[in-house]
């Protein structure tokens, strides 16, 4: 049984924290068993075995080498030597799985151990590692690259002396473009890396896009991504060899460049313009609108036509490229290609979603003016063309499309809902009306998104004009519509969305809410308390918390290690407010949630009650729970609730009784219990023992021995 083997390894791991464990492990032959477990059919067990080996090696070296490193591996402790010899033998093995195991052990070692002895280890094992690159095909390429990068990240080694940079450079030039990509990205992420190597690695990542530009650009044109042509023939071969190779290489390259641009190690100068040009070209190759100048371009056109994977990757990268500064004509090209993708009937739902995301980022970042977040004139022109497309997408027969169109719309309104030009463009379209109609969509995800959009439209005063015959009560009607969804919708997503909107409305002081906040909160809590969806109940607690914070002030910080700043004493809650809480009934809802079978709900309720307790400490005298008959009956009800009879209401309660209960509950203890993750039971020794017993049960062995 894998869990028993896994448990055995974990047990040894715990054991190995003790210095004298080393002798036990060495003498008992456990190390040989661990070697064997490296090839276990369960990946979890195999991985844990490798990690344990590293742990033992580190332990042995820690014990053996006191202070200065032992420069001769021959003088290392026997246990360490045994492990190193095993790794070395495995590196010489012809079987790829064994090589992979050895490489994994080394990768973990260099990742975890930063003592000087790791330098000696690398000195000994780098020749067999280098030999692996001589083999054809190179075995376990991915593990090899992981090892090189792990070594390169180590702070202990003197890279120049140990020839690591040369090895990396040689590897980058020897691997195929697809294999070299991840290594190039890893190299660029290194903090201390020679500039020459960085340039080479960046070149590997740029090469496929340079090929695309070269194949599709007429005349020499502006300077491309790469001036040299070294290695380009390999890349061209990879791009043209087959559709899957071409798609794989492009997707990988685009993803790597996207990741790289987000990092602090992003190469500088960043070739924003050619990269943007190449990405736009790739999208055009996918939609068939490029007129390629070369035969290679023609073949790429055929290969990439309608390729959804490449389109998605290119749109992701295009979105990231919005962060850089680009010339206006290129920005207009980006808008054009985005518009075409959004408009095209051929675009698949996933491509459309990515296109919406990229569009949003370009709208946010195009021609940023330093002091305002207004849309640029170009962006406004773009929006003028976008809204008719959005209208069509809101009517799509494909629910995924309706959903992503609504999400996109919600983001648009959140960002620019206050801007006059945007409001005008939106109002002149049918978009708000269509979005409102989607509250009745048959698909629950779409209804949920439509709730978000309608909430956002309403917050910004952009709701569908009440002149429309279908919506005579457009404004007040929306609140009631959302209440209706909250209490009747059969699916959880729309109800959760309604609560998110309500919470936001309450936080932002939406006109419909502040008209009668008490009624609003009471109605929502009443609906939520009966809800079967735990997320809805948790959102209900969130709304209750916002309500309380508005009335009672922010919660005080509970960090035991910080010196509390002199807090502005929060206003003492008015007794009438406590009455309101009882009437709502917020207390009842929170107490009920405290016993919720879903842990996050109980946790949230616990936090809420702690907050309430903190805020009400000064409200009443040193009354103890049980002092008043009322609180005694509440206690009794709570006790019954704990026993699973949750149907009985708490009844009309006095604030004093509530406060008394609040003080009597061990909320901190409960919080600690709830904070433990749900798998703590599974990881306990008792659980392991049960597994062992189960195994024994299967084998029909003597059960008594196990005890």
């Amino acid at each position: 049984m894998p869990s028993v083997r896994s448990g055995w390894i974990q047990g040894l791991c715990s054991l190995a924290h003790h210095p004298s464990a080393l002798h036990f492990l060495a003498d008992s032959g456990a190390v040989d068993t661990i070697f064997a477990l490296q090839g276990d059919p369960s990946l979890f067990v195999a991985s844990a075995a490798s990690q344990l080996l590293v742990h033992i090696l580190a332990l042995a070296m820690q014990g053996g080498a006191s202070g200065s490193p032992i420069s001769e591996a021959a003088a290392w402790p026997i246990c360490a030597q045994k492990i190193v010899n095993h790794v070395e033998e495995s590196l010489h093995s012809k079987a790829t799985p064994q090589v992979t195991q050895a490489l994994n052990v080394l990768t973990t070692t260099f990742g975890r151990c930063h003592s000087p002895w790791t330098g000696v280890l690398w000195g000994r094992l780098s020749p067999p590692v280098a030999c692996l690159f001589e083999r054809d095909p190179i075995p376990a390429v991915h593990s090899l690259m992981d090892l090189l990068l792990s070594v390169a990240r180590s702070h202990v080694l003197n890279f120049a002396a140990c020839g690591l940079w040369e090895m990396l450079a040689q590897t980058l030039s020897r691997l195929s473009p697809t294999q070299a990509g991840p290594l190039a990205l890893g190299t660029l992420k290194l903090q201390h890396c020679p500039q020459e190597l960085r340039t080479q690695a960046f070149g590997v990542l740029l090469q496929p896009l340079a090929c695309i530009l070269k194949a599709t650009t007429q005349a020499p044109g502006p300077p491309g991504l790469l001036d040299g042509t070294a290695g380009s023939s390999l890349t061209v071969d990879a791009l043209l060899s087959s559709k899957s190779a071409c798609v794989g290489l492009l997707c990988q390259t685009l993803a790597h460049l996207e990741e790289l641009q987000m990092l602090p190690q992003c190469p500088c100068p960043w070739p924003q313009v050619p990269l943007l040009g190449a990405t736009v070209t790739i999208l055009r190759l996918c939609d068939g609108s490029v007129d390629p100048s070369s035969s290679m371009g023609g073949r790429l056109c055929g290969t990439l036509g309608g390729c959804v994977r490449v389109q998605r990757a290119a749109l992701d990268f295009l979105g990231t490229l919005s962060q850089g500064t680009s010339p206006l004509e290129l920005v207009l090209e980006v808008f054009a290609v985005l518009l075409k993708t959004l408009e095209s009937p051929e675009s698949s739902p996933t491509v459309l979603k990515k296109a919406f995301q990229a569009t949003l980022r370009w709208l946010q970042n195009s021609h940023k003016t330093p002091n305002c977040s207004d849309l640029s004139p170009d962006a406004l022109l773009f929006l003028g063309e976008l809204f008719p497309i959005l209208q069509k997408r809101l009517c799509s027969p494909c629910w995924e499309v309706r959903d992503s169109a609504l999400e996109f719309l919600t983001h648009l309104i959140r960002h620019w809902g206050g801007q006059a030009d945007f409001r005008e463009a939106l109002h002149s379209s049918e978009v708000p009306t269509l979005a409102r109609q989607l509250l009745q969509d048959p698909e629950s995800y779409v209804r949920a998104s439509a709730v978000g959009t309608a909430g956002q439209l309403s917050s910004r005063g952009l709701q569908a004009t009440s002149a429309s015959p279908e919506n005579p009560l457009a404004q007040q009607g929306l609140l009631m519509d959302l209440m209706h969804i909250l209490s009747t919708d059969s699916e959880g997503f729309p109800r959760r969305a309604v609560l998110r909107v309500f919470t936001e409305w309450l936080r932002d002081g939406h006109a419909d809410v502040i008209r009668d906040t008490e009624w609003f909160v009471a109605t929502v809590l009443q609906a939520v308390s009966r809800d079967l969806d735990w997320e809805v109940r948790m959102q209900g607690l969130e709304l209750a918390q916002v309500f309380l914070i508005q009335a009672m002030g922010q919660p005080s910080l509970h960090c035991p290690y910080t010196v509390g700043l002199p807090e502005a004493t929060s206003p003492r809650p008015h007794p009438e407010f406590l009455q309101t809480l009882c009437r709502l009934p917020l207390f009842e809802f929170a107490f009920c949630a405290l016993l919720d079978c879903d842990r996050p709900v109980a946790q949230k309720a616990c936090d809420l009650l702690l907050f309430l307790r903190d805020k009400t400490t000064h409200c009443s005298g040193p009354q103890e729970a049980g002092d008043s008959p009322n609180s005694a009956s509440v206690e009794a009800v709570l006790q019954r609730w704990r026993e699973g009879e949750q149907g009985q209401p708490l009844g009309d309660l006095e604030p004093e009784a509530m406060l008394a209960i609040l003080r009597s509950l061990d909320l901190e203890g409960l919080q600690g219990k709830l904070a433990k993750s749900s798998d703590h039971v599974e990881k306990s020794p008792q659980s392991l023992l049960q597994d062992m017993l189960a195994t024994v049960g299967i084998l029909e062995e003597n059960e008594a021995d196990c005890y």
Partner: protein, 552 residues
């Protein structure tokens, strides 16, 4: 199909037309609709002077660019349609039809429309597949039969999609989105279409979509002289439908959901805009009607009724006509125009997969398929790419297909076969000589036993019979083997010939009997005895030669 009357009624056609039943019935409906549309608006006179080339070139475009106007014909009449259809012999999928014994013809499902077929034309040793409008998509008809196309010597490929860049799924989505958008904004939607084909799939999509799009209260009208027949016919052709729809019939349920749309009054159909329709007409609505060219039929009225409002939309789904040309006479037009051509026929990617699957020795196709479309010359993916390259043909070109007929199958009558005595001449190879009469009729060849030697005519009747049978001489056996010269010479000497001389020649030997002034020329495949008027000697020598040869 729509041109059938022109072929059968105006060209002296006397043959048989083979078609599946749905093809005939739906073809009849389409022609009936066309004739009805045309005859509704009879012309008092028809102009033909403009067809004069000198006048035509002065006319505005596109009239001046029209080609071969002199060959344009009037539309046929219903009488001609019926006459043409009477020449059809109905066939079923996989049915083998003998054509004069020369070839066998078999229709296969092409997956494009109800009853649409690809054809296999095969002899005993050659197979030609004719692939016309076919579809691999899962729509209403029986799926395309690809397996039967395998092992073709030649595959003739026609009827590919007219819009290779438009994916039918995307277009259906576009159709639904635009329809819903228009109707939600209070506008009407006009769909110019044929009364059969894609409309069944569109109605099915709408059936699934209207409730979810909140369009349940919007009426859908289908207006065509044959609307009722088309909707009903489609429901009874169960054996021609895809598996899903076939299985519904056994439930029993109507295979197409448009029956339910009709029952629930969501879809209403009328023969024309006159009569009941004008009473029921309610806006906003969706109207399906013909003709998709917008030149005749009820669609003309709707174009004129709704063309002035930008709330309305016309959605083109039939790929046969340029929508811009169709709209030209209605311009300026305020109504929105959406072009979503839905053509489910094979595209180039599907063709490439099909060819890999069925692996014909040669592909023959129209010239247009062997190069990218002129408007997208860089799209190398929009052409047929196969090995060996496809043979192309142009309009009216006669093409010699790349195979030679080398073998013919001949049947042997059982009694003749009984009489054969094969001799094994090599291990595994036996030979027998056959003497028979080759009887050829309807391109079938039969070997019959030879007639008995002719009896002397005893009566007139007998004589007549013997005249029918070809003269049959006494059969001489066939010879085989070779003559070893030395042994032959020894044999000659044994039989009293002397003064024998042997000369080697390029092809064999010459044996000279100088005394007898006779020459025996022995070659690989012939032996000649040349002697002067001495028949006895010749016969003696012949018998000696025959000793060395085997007889059959």
């Amino acid at each position: 199909m729509m041109a059938l009357p022109y072929i059968t009624e105006h060209t002296g056609f006397t043959g048989t037309v083979y078609a599946t039943e749905p093809t005939m019935q739906i073809g009849r409906l389409l022609m009936e609709e066309l004739v009805n549309f045309i005859e509704r608006v009879p012309k008092a006179q028809s102009a033909s002077l403009w067809k004069n080339k000198d006048i035509q070139r002065l006319l505005p475009s596109p009239l001046k660019d029209a080609v071969e106007v002199s060959t344009w014909r009037r539309c046929y009449t219903m009488q001609e349609v019926n006459s043409a259809l009477s020449k059809i012999q109905l066939v079923g999928y996989s049915q083998k039809i003998e054509l004069f014994g020369a070839v066998q013809v078999t229709p296969l499902s092409s997956g494009y429309a109800l009853g649409s077929s690809n054809w296999i034309i095969q002899s005993h040793y050659e197979k030609v597949s004719y692939v016309s409008g076919s579809s691999l998509l899962t729509t209403h008809p029986q799926p395309m039969d690809q397996a039967s196309l395998k092992n073709s010597d030649v595959l003739v490929l026609t009827g590919l999609t007219q819009i290779p860049t438009a994916n039918p799924d995307g277009m259906v989505g576009e159709f639904c989105s635009n329809l819903a958008l228009t109707v939600r904004n209070g506008g009407n939607v006009l769909v110019p279409c044929y009364p059969s084909g894609v409309i069944y799939d569109l109605l099915e999509c709408l059936y699934q979509y209207i409730d979810s799009a909140g369009l349940s209260n919007i009426p859908f009208y289908f207006i065509s002289p044959v609307a009722n027949s088309s909707l009903e016919f489609s429901q009874i052709f169960a054996e021609w439908l895809c598996h899903n729809k076939q299985s519904k019939v056994y439930l029993p349920e109507p295979p197409f959901p448009h029956a339910e749309l009709i029952q629930t009054n969501k879809l209403k159909h009328y023969p024309s805009i006159h009569g009941d329709f004008s009473n029921d007409f309610r806006q906003p609505c969706v109207v399906f009607t013909g003709h998709p060219s917008l030149r005749f039929g009820d669609v003309v009225h709707f174009m004129e009724l709704w063309g002035k409002s930008s709330l309305n939309t016309v959605i083109f789904t039939e790929p046969d006509f340029s929508y811009l040309e169709a709209l030209a006479p209605y311009q300026p037009l305020a109504m929105k125009c959406i072009y979503c051509p839905i053509d489910t026929r094979l595209n180039f990617i599907q063709v490439s997969k099909l060819l890999k699957e069925v692996q014909p020795l040669h592909v023959v196709c129209p010239e247009q398929y062997t190069q990218p479309p002129p408007a997208q010359s860089h799209r190398m993916d929009l052409m047929i790419d196969c090995q060996p390259p496809a043979m192309s043909y142009r309009r009216a070109e006669v093409l010699a297909l790349p195979f030679k007929r080398r073998y013919e199958k001949i049947e042997i009558m059982p009694e003749l076969a009984d009489s054969l005595v094969p001799m094994e001449i090599k291990p595994g190879i036996s030979l027998a000589t056959v003497s028979a009469v080759l009887h050829t009729k309807d391109n079938k060849h039969v070997l019959q036993p030879p007639p008995r030697p002719t009896q002397p005519p005893s009566s007139k009747k007998r004589k007549r019979v013997s005249e029918d049978v070809p003269d049959c001489k006494v059969l001489k056996p066939l010879l085989s083997g070779s003559i070893p010269v030395e042994q032959f010479v020894q044999t000659l000497e044994k039989h009293g010939f002397s003064d024998i001389k042997v000369e080697d020649t390029a092809k064999g030997h010459i044996v000279l009997l100088q005394e007898a002034e006779t020459l025996i020329q022995i070659e690989e495949d012939s032996t000649h005895i040349i002697c002067d008027n001495d028949e006895t000697l010749r016969v003696r020598l012949r018998d000696l030669v025959l000793r060395f040869l085997q007889k059959f």
